[in-house]
Symmetry: C2
Subunit: 327 residues, 2 copies
């Protein structure tokens, strides 16, 4: 940040199975400009990397070649030295992404997991600004998590730390998409809310009528159907919603007791669609988590929305190029 | 550690509801000498603090007045600046323990939670030596936990981080001693194993015969009874043991997915009495936790036994006096 680079942006990349988003981000977290294109992951890694390089070059040119570093958040297991170990949505295994991008654009490149990037973004420029101990939980189709402990982003021994969606909350319970039974995500993730709702409608067709009518078919019921039914006063939707809030509270008690964060930041598509889910879950946490863990705790909604990933990735790149390592 | 203080010990104190233990510990973690006395907590704080000061002075004299600092691990919620906020076993509230001791013995005093002290001990001189990412779980009457994240002891926003025994593993499950339902501790802690065994013997008296005979009465059945029955081939004890291992595995999956430690260190009275509990739990974790979190993971038994508390408290004091802050 010294001398000529004062105020220079870094580039943040959000690389997922459906879209590539690249933003130029100022040192104080403002998006100066962004580009987006479909990933078309079925083409395999090489065309996607070529697109990524071309789009990065456009972004670098658009910012007058002032960008100092690139940060990539990718929906993947990463190796801590720029490599993608496994990205199920991209169908990538062992791609030396950081080295490839760095060689192509001539800038230092940091590669991290997309949820950790979003957590970093919320920490530096969103709802966690100024805090040294926080937890983020992003509830969308699945549940992603991240934690900052004593001013350090939780990375973990093999770069998978913060998988809070895969904490067991019901021993022997519902099968998760991972190998475990009873995961937090297997009750509160969007796919799980949909599955629970479809099961309920199947076993009680008359009570499930509203949801089936709203969705068109039973198989088309989603978490959004349940939220809409809750808002419309449908009894079964209300029950499913209340159960979801109870599972959310139950999982959050464990998160709070384990991490003792000062802020608990909730974001993701489900929270954005149904922010009123937070209140009953927070009430449950305040009456069930350890009192000693409660004194400093604040619940917050995520502040950056869909920008958390690119802003966080860009901020991690700035942090890494200024300090020599991510996190 | 420089100059005249090279090799000088620090004093570690383990202050609990039943005993006070003080050890002089060398910079490389060896116990040079120790003293122990009953706490007699019912007398209230003042006589206990007087005893503590007298015993500290004896220890300081016995070490030729070379000790450079004192670390206290106490079964309590602490405030991060030497104060005890609440110690249920001692029946203390808001005692400025660090300031009192420091004024009396003329050395810097660090006060921390006893489980965090033990975690620090295992990290620096026990089963976690040399690691930057680890989790300790001490399973005794209750379950205490601690974590080291990127080379920093997890402290938490209000100094209660690492309460892994109070992660929910059965939503809506058994009542815990805390305010939550379905805590890890409410299934796997010694008190909970005893309660589960007594309930089982009560509902199936003929199957529970072995345990009742071994314990003398149904109400006298403890976790040790169950372990003895397991070793003796009693069918109900075997079932209770297997269920305990399953709950342990289920909780550990959550711990591993959340923290992604390189070492998972298990200690405490239950693990010391029944180390064969680890193997089925480890097998469960290896088949149910995220594969990406498994690559680097090693299970270890705690290495310091009952000394972890005093050794860790002494090491924290050395760390604090050398670096200006605990952890």
């Amino acid at each position: 940040m010294d001398g000529g680079a004062a105020g220079a942006p870094t580039l943040g990349v959000d690389l997922g199975g459906t879209k590539i988003e690249i933003a130029a981000v100022s040192p104080d977290g403002r998006i100066l400009g962004s580009r987006r294109r479909p990933t078309e992951a079925s083409r395999g890694p090489e065309p996607v990397i070529a697109d990524l390089i071309a789009t990065l070059r456009e972004s670098i040119a658009a910012e007058g070649r002032r960008a100092t570093a690139v940060g990539v958040g990718v929906a993947a297991q990463v190796d801590g030295s720029g490599g993608v170990v496994f990205a199920p949505n991209l169908r990538w295994r062992n791609v030396a992404l950081g080295a490839r991008l760095s060689a192509a654009v001539g800038l230092p490149v940091t590669v991290t997991n997309d949820v950790r990037a979003a957590t970093f973004g919320e920490w530096k420029f969103g709802a966690g600004r100024g805090e040294s101990d926080l937890v983020c939980l992003f509830i969308g189709t699945g549940i992603g998590g991240g934690a900052v402990v004593a001013g350090t982003l939780l990375e973990g021994a093999s770069h998978t730390g913060g998988e809070l969606g895969h904490m067991t909350i019901v021993t022997g319970g519902r099968a998760c998409t991972c190998r475990n039974l009873g995961c937090f995500e297997a009750y509160v993730g969007g796919w799980a809310i949909a599955a629970r709702a479809q099961e309920a409608a199947r076993s009680s067709p008359s009570d499930g009528r509203w949801m089936v009518d709203a969705a068109g078919t039973l198989e088309a019921i989603t978490a959004a159907t349940v939220v809409a039914g809750f808002e419309a006063g449908d009894a079964m939707s209300k029950r499913l919603f209340d159960e979801t809030a109870a599972y959310l509270g139950s999982g959050l008690v464990g998160v709070v007791n384990a991490f003792n964060p000062r802020r608990l930041i909730l974001g993701g598509g489900i929270v954005e669609r149904a922010p009123f889910l937070i209140e009953p879950a927070e009430r449950h946490v305040r009456t069930h988590a350890l009192e000693a863990a409660m004194g400093e705790l604040r619940f917050e909604r995520a502040g950056l929305g869909n920008d958390a990933g690119v802003v966080g990735a860009a901020a991690m790149a700035a942090h890494a190029s200024g300090r020599g390592g991510p996190g």
